[in-house]
C-alpha cells in the first residue's frame, strides 16, 4: 500500500504520433490532445502502461470465459474466438453526435420511403431519379413482395449505417446495412467491460448509456405487431448455434425477454405463424429474423432451405406477420444504389442530406466504367453483393497481377462493381504490442424504427488492428472499441 503515489515508468501516450494526412480521434495535427479526449487521456495516462496492460488481459479472459465469442464452434471441438477488444475508447463530443444523429434519422427515413416506393408505385423510377434498370436489376430487388405493405409501413426496423471520417474529420456514410446488420451485442458487452475494467475513468467521463437498446428494440417491434394484444408474440429467428452470429441472436433474445427460435420451431396454419411450445401452439406476429431473404420460406424462395418456415411469406403477404427487417431490403443497401441515396433524400424529403458520402463510380454506367478501368491502381473497388471485406480490391495496395485480374472481372460483369477513391480513414490510439499506436477505425451506429426512430448513442467502433490496414472487418483482423458519446454540457 502507499505505492500508488509512485509515478509509473511506462507512459501510454508520450510517444504517440498520428499519421500525417489522417484525422486522429484523440490528437490534433500539432500533437495536442483534443478537448473531448483530454480527460480520458489524462486518466489512462495516470494508470500507466503496465496497469493498462494487466486490465487488457483481464478483459480478454473475461470475454473468453463468458463465451462472448464472434466465431463460434465449427465442430464439437469447441474452438471459439473472441472479437479482439481494445480498451482505449473512441470519443465523440455531444455536438458532433447531434449532427450525426440527425443525418442518420434522415437517411433511414429516406431509405424506408424508397423501399415503400420501389415495392409500391415506383414513382422514383417513373421520374427517372434513379435509372430503372439499376433498381429492378439489383440482386436484392424482390418482385415477390411488390404490393405488400409491411405492418406499420416500416421496412427498416434496424439499420446499421457505416460511417467513416476522412482527413477533414467530418463523418460521412460509407455503406448502408438494412438487411440484418450485426454487431450491436458487442456494443453492449464492450460497455459492460469498460465499466468493469475502468470504473473510475468511466464514472468521470459522462458518457451516454447504451443499455436501453434491447428495450428500445423490443418496443419498436411490439408497435409493428399486427395481432391483437391477447394473441401477439415476438421472437428472434436464428439459423442456429452454428451461425457465427449466434451469440448475438441469443443475447438479443435474452435481453429483450423473448424466445429465440429456429425455423423448425415454427409453422404456418391458416396464414398465421405459430411457435410450437410446451403449452401448445402460440401465435407469433413479429419475427426479428436473422436469416437472409433467400432462406426464409422454401415455398417462395430457395426450395432447399431448411432454415426457414414453409408458408411464412403467405402470413407476411396477408399482413398477419411483421418481419424485421422487411423482405426485399437488399435493393436499398445495394452498393450500386448507394450513390443515389442523396437524390432519394432530396426526392422524398425535399431536404439536403445532412451527412456526406464517398464519391462513387458505378461501373454499370459507361463513363464510370471507363474511368475505373483507367484508374484501378488508385481506387477501392467493391463487388456490390459482397460483405465482410471480401470481393474487394484496394488498388494502391494491390499487385499488378491482382489489378489486372480485377479489371477483367469488372469488364465481364460491370453491374456487379463500384469504385471509390481510397479514403484515409481516421485513426484512434490503440494498444499494440509496441505500445499505443494509431489504427484506422470506422463506426457502425444502429438505428431502430418502430413508431419512432431511435439512434443508439455511439455504436460499434471497428478498428483495423494491423498496422497500415484499412480493413476493419472482424473476419480480416479487425477488433472493436467502446464508443463514448459524451453528454452535452449543461447550458
Amino acid at each position: 500500500m502507499g505505492s500508488h503515489a509512485m509515478p509509473d515508468p511506462s507512459p501510454l501516450f508520450t510517444d504517440y504520433a498520428p499519421i500525417r494526412g489522417t484525422f486522429d480521434e484523440c490528437f490534433d495535427e500539432s500533437g495536442q490532445v483534443r478537448p473531448e479526449a483530454e480527460r480520458v487521456v489524462r486518466l489512462l495516462e495516470g494508470l500507466g502502461g503496465r496497469e493498462f496492460q494487466s486490465r487488457q488481459r483481464l478483459a480478454d479472459s473475461t470475454f473468453l470465459r463468458s463465451g462472448i465469442t464472434f466465431s463460434v464452434y465449427s465442430d464439437s471441438q469447441g474452438a471459439e474466438r473472441i472479437f479482439p477488444f481494445d480498451l482505449i475508447p473512441r470519443i465523440i463530443p455531444a455536438g458532433e453526435w447531434q449532427r450525426v444523429e440527425r443525418g442518420l434519422e434522415q437517411r433511414i427515413q429516406a431509405l424506408n420511403l424508397f423501399l415503400a416506393d420501389v415495392y409500391g408505385d415506383q414513382r422514383i423510377l417513373a421520374e427517372k431519379i434513379i435509372p430503372e434498370d439499376m433498381v429492378l436489376g439489383a440482386s436484392g430487388y424482390t418482385e415477390q413482395v411488390r404490393g405488400i405493405v409491411p405492418p406499420g409501413g416500416v421496412h427498416v426496423h434496424i439499420g446499421g449505417i457505416d460511417l467513416i471520417r476522412g482527413p477533414d474529420g467530418a463523418f460521412v456514410v460509407l455503406e448502408d446495412n438494412v438487411r440484418t446488420p450485426s454487431g450491436v451485442s458487442y456494443v453492449l458487452e464492450n460497455r459492460m467491460m469498460m465499466k468493469k475494467v475502468f470504473p473510475y475513468v468511466f464514472a468521470e467521463s459522462h458518457v451516454r448509456g447504451v443499455e436501453e437498446y434491447p428495450l428500445r428494440l423490443r418496443d419498436a417491434l411490439n408497435t409493428v405487431g399486427p395481432a391483437p394484444d391477447d394473441e401477439d408474440g415476438t421472437a428472434v429467428l436464428t439459423p442456429g448455434p452454428f451461425n457465427s452470429a449466434y451469440f448475438e441472436h441469443s443475447f438479443l433474445a435474452r435481453r429483450m425477454g423473448v424466445p429465440l427460435v429456429e425455423g423448425s420451431d415454427l409453422f404456418v396454419d391458416d396464414d398465421r405463424l405459430y411457435a410450437k411450445t410446451t403449452l401448445g401452439a402460440r401465435r407469433i406476429d413479429v419475427l426479428y429474423r436473422r436469416i437472409d431473404d433467400p432462406f426464409l420460406d422454401p415455398e417462395v424462395f430457395r426450395k432447399d432451405s431448411v432454415l426457414g418456415v414453409p408458408g411464412l411469406m403467405r402470413a407476411y403477404a396477408k399482413g398477419n406477420l411483421a418481419l424485421a427487417n422487411a423482405v426485399g431490403n437488399g435493393v436499398a443497401d445495394d452498393k450500386a444504389i448507394y450513390p443515389f441515396v442523396p437524390d432519394m433524400i432530396r426526392f422524398y424529403l425535399s431536404e439536403e442530406p445532412v451527412l456526406g458520402q464517398v464519391p462513387t463510380y458505378v461501373c454499370a454506367r459507361d463513363d464510370d466504367l471507363a474511368y475505373v478501368l483507367d484508374h484501378v491502381g488508385e481506387l477501392v473497388i467493391k463487388a456490390v453483393n459482397e460483405a465482410g471485406g471480401y470481393g474487394m480490391l484496394i488498388g494502391p495496395q494491390a499487385t499488378r497481377r491482382e489489378r489486372r485480374d480485377f479489371a477483367e472481372r469488372i469488364r465481364n460483369d460491370p453491374r456487379n462493381y463500384i469504385a471509390q477513391p481510397r479514403i484515409e480513414l481516421s485513426t484512434c490510439p490503440t494498444w499494440t504490442r509496441k505500445g499505443v499506436g494509431p489504427r484506422r477505425v470506422d463506426l457502425r451506429p444502429y438505428v431502430v424504427t418502430g413508431r419512432q426512430t431511435f439512434v443508439l448513442p455511439g455504436g460499434l467502433t471497428r478498428v483495423a488492428l494491423v498496422e497500415g490496414s484499412y480493413v476493419v472487418n472482424s473476419s480480416q483482423g479487425g477488433g472493436s472499441k467502446d464508443t463514448w458519446v459524451l453528454e452535452g454540457s449543461p447550458t
Binding site: 448455434p241 435474452r254 410446451t278 401452439a281
Partner: protein
C-alpha cells in the same frame, strides 16, 4: 416455452445426471474391487453392461482387452465413440446448454463450460493417470455444483422444471441400473444366504449413490441385500430412490402442463400415473420372489418409455393449432437426443 428449448433443458440435465452417476459408479468400483476377490471378468465388465454398451464394447475390443480394468475405464471415461462415456455425456450436456444460452443462467453456463474445458485439458488427464479417485470425485463434485447453481440462479419456472424432470427420470433409471450391476457380476440374490462378496457389493452399491449414511439413519434397518434394495427402490425420502424420483416426475409434469382441462401432455401424465401405481403396489417380498433383475429391467424400460412420451408431448409436438385438426406429419428425430440410446439394459 419453445418445445425445442424445453427438450434441451431436459436433455441437459439427463446428460449431467449420467455423467455424475457413471463417475460415482467408476469411483466406487475402484475401491470395491480391492475389497473382494472376484474373477477379472466380474470386476469391470458389469459397468459396461449396465450402461447399455456391451455390444459396442465387444465390437471394439479383443477378448483379452475386455477384462482389462484399464481398457474398460478408458472406454467408459474418455471414449468419444462411446455415447455413454463420461466424455460424451459431458459433451452432450454442454452442447444442449450452448443451444439454450438464453435460457440457462450465466452461472450455470460458466460451471458447465469450465468443467468441459477442464475435461479436455491435459490437467484432467494427468489427474486421471495419477489419482483416479480424485478424478472421479472432481466430476461428481462439479456435477453437484451444477445442480446447486441451477437451484440458486434459475427462475423456478418451466425451463427449470423441465431440467428437474430430466434429472428425476434419469435418476430413477440410473438407480435401477446400479441395482443391476450385482446381478451381472455375482448373479441373482438369494436373500437367505449372502456371501461376504455380496455384502461388500451391496455396500458399494449404496456408496455409489451416497446412500450409506442415509441408509443407516433408519436406525432399525439391519444391513442386508434385501434392505439395501428396499431402500434404493422404495425409500420415499431418499433423493436417488426409484419411488422418490417417479413421484417427482409426476409432480414436475403437473407443474409444466397447462391447467386442466387440457390435452397437452396427457399421454405422459397417464403413463406416469399408471407406472407409479404399479410400482407403489410392489413390496420387497414380492420383488425378491419374482426377481430383482426383472423389476429393475421394468423400471429402466418404463422410464425410457416415459421419456419418449414426454418427448412426443412436449419437445416435438405436431404442428397443430387445435388438437383436433389434421394428423401430424412424420417427425424428424430430435438432434439433441439422437446421440443416446441408453434405453435398455442388456440381458
Amino acid at each position: 416455452m419453445i418445445s425445442r428449448v424445453a427438450g434441451s433443458c431436459f436433455w441437459l440435465n439427463r446428460y449431467m445426471e449420467r455423467t455424475e452417476s457413471l463417475a460415482r459408479m467408476l469411483g466406487v468400483n475402484l475401491s470395491f474391487q480391492l475389497d473382494v476377490s472376484l474373477p477379472n471378468a466380474e470386476r469391470w465388465r458389469p459397468l459396461v453392461v449396465v450402461t447399455g454398451q456391451e455390444a459396442d464394447f465387444v465390437s471394439k475390443t479383443t477378448e483379452a482387452e475386455r477384462d482389462d480394468a484399464e481398457v474398460v475405464q478408458e472406454y467408459l471415461t474418455w471414449s468419444e465413440d462411446n455415447p455413454s462415456s463420461l466424455y460424451s455425456s459431458l459433451r452432450g450436456a454442454r452442447e444442449n446448454a450452448r443451444t439454450i444460452r438464453e435460457t440457462v443462467s450465466l452461472e450455470m453456463w460458466e460451471v458447465l463450460n469450465d468443467l468441459w474445458v477442464w475435461m479436455r485439458s491435459s490437467q484432467a488427464r494427468r489427474i486421471y493417470d495419477r489419482d483416479r479417485h480424485d478424478f472421479y470425485l472432481q466430476l461428481r463434485n462439479q456435477s453437484l455444483l451444477f445442480h446447486g447453481v441451477a437451484q440458486a440462479t434459475m427462475l423456478h419456472e418451466d425451463p427449470f422444471e423441465f431440467m428437474r424432470l430430466g434429472t428425476a427420470l434419469e435418476r430413477a433409471g440410473q438407480t435401477a441400473r446400479l441395482l443391476d450391476v450385482k446381478h451381472h457380476s455375482i448373479g441373482p440374490t438369494d436373500p437367505a444366504f449372502e456371501t461376504p462378496a455380496e455384502a461388500a457389493h451391496w455396500l458399494a452399491t449404496l456408496r455409489s449413490c451416497s446412500g450409506v449414511e442415509p441408509f443407516l439413519k433408519g436406525g432399525d434397518r439391519a444391513f442386508s441385500g434385501r434392505a439395501v434394495a428396499e431402500f434404493l427402490l422404495f425409500e420415499p425420502a431418499f433423493a436417488r430412490s426409484v419411488l422418490h424420483n417417479l413421484r417427482r416426475t409426476r409432480n414436475f409434469l403437473d407443474l409444466v402442463r397447462p391447467p386442466e382441462p387440457t390435452t397437452v401432455g396427457r399421454r405422459s401424465k397417464e403413463l406416469v400415473a399408471a407406472s407409479l401405481a404399479r410400482f407403489e403396489e410392489q413390496d420387497i417380498e414380492r420383488v425378491f420372489a419374482e426377481g430383482l433383475h426383472e423389476l429393475v429391467t421394468w423400471v429402466v424400460d418404463t422410464t425410457a418409455e416415459i421419456c419418449v412420451a414426454v418427448q412426443d408431448d412436449f419437445f416435438d409436438p405436431p404442428p397443430l393449432v387445435e388438437p383436433t385438426r389434421a394428423p401430424a406429419e412424420a417427425r424428424p428425430p430430435s438432434p439433441a437426443s439422437g446421440a443416446q440410446s441408453q434405453s435398455q439394459t442388456q440381458h
